[in-house]
Symmetry: C2
Subunit: 208 residues, 2 copies
């Protein structure tokens, strides 16, 4: 397709496409003349990826790191997946000890990976909750765990298995784009349950 069609298919303006080409984020099209190039579905998909990642506020540097992994995943797809997820949100503090996260993972007894970058993220999140007086109890963690694992299993069941680039793209986008969907559904779940509860208690009109 011509670049004009690429613009309409991807929804990315021409100026941005030219910029991504210059920066090496978008691979060049197949040159058909001195001034024309032919683009295909891989270009549409790449632009969607860039758009998606920049839409959630990722810097160009981090998007570049993720695209480099998609283009050259290296010998271990598992490591590439971990590195790509790391690029989405590097831990706020480089801290080697993760006492809260380690304890939580031990408690859950699941084969979590202590050296995965999300462990630092978990440590930071648990510490923040604790500092605010709403630290997660073991009971809360145990109640959450099976449901989060079930959600993760739904995701991984849909991961492309024979194309490492597609697998990384899926994991990166599924991580960063589904998190706000889960958060919104949880908030709506709270609202539905609170409405029920307060209605039953007659607290909707309770004078406080």
């Amino acid at each position: 397709m011509l670049v004009s069609e690429l613009v309409s298919r991807s929804g990315v303006p021409l100026a941005s496409i030219k910029y991504y080409l210059r920066e090496g984020l978008l691979m060049p099209g197949h040159a058909t003349s001195a001034t024309r190039a032919d683009y295909d579905e891989t270009h549409v998909r790449r632009l969607r990826l860039i758009k998606g990642l920049s839409g959630v506020g990722l810097s160009l540097g981090r998007i570049k790191a993720i695209i480099a992994l998609i283009d050259e995943p290296g010998p271990s797809l598992f490591d590439a997946l971990g590195t790509a997820v790391y690029a989405l949100s590097p831990p706020p503090v480089a801290d080697e000890s993760h006492p809260r996260a380690t304890a939580a993972l031990e408690l859950l007894g699941t084969p979590y990976l202590p050296d995965h970058p999300a462990v630092a993220q978990l440590e930071h999140a648990l510490a923040a909750a604790e500092a605010c007086g709403v630290g997660m109890t073991d009971d809360q963690l145990r109640a959450y765990a099976p449901h989060i694992e079930a959600i993760a299993a739904v995701d991984i069941a849909l991961m492309p298995r024979d194309d490492p680039a597609a697998a990384i793209e899926y994991v990166v986008l599924g991580t960063i784009l589904y998190e706000p969907i889960i958060a919104a559904l949880r908030r709506l779940g709270h609202a539905a349950l609170a409405a029920d509860l307060l209605d039953k208690q007659g607290d909707l009109t309770h004078d406080v």
Copy 2:
């Protein structure tokens, strides 16, 4: 307690405490002399709340809005809860129609509340995933839903019921501080499952 003890109990520096007092975010202590005031647990708790909300990047304006609701929840606790959650993250675009969110909520058949602020958040998140070519299918939504509801039920079961201020505080902190915990556990769940899968497939050393 003296203000010095309030500093050590809350972990908030004196200068910040003075600032919060001036701004009306922290209620004044009980004056015991012209230069001394007595503080109690309510002050420690309030400072933890401010610290927690500013720690996740909330502006002082939004923190003020939430504290105003805690101080005066008004006649409907349910409305106050909704307004407080709204203050956490106002929808990026004020859009009256939510076609994707409405369809998703209808599909899930749960008593979600179409006029809750998180509906706009859901609409935005579903649209972003769709634009990137990883739109949520009905099957994915149906697979997610019971687990998100179960997590929301764990949260609401722990909500304080006889103190509206405590209920708002709990919902606000539990929403904003537990979301990153859920996200980190989901990412670790992905990693554990991907490790299993790739290991079984022999893809860990698969030359790509």
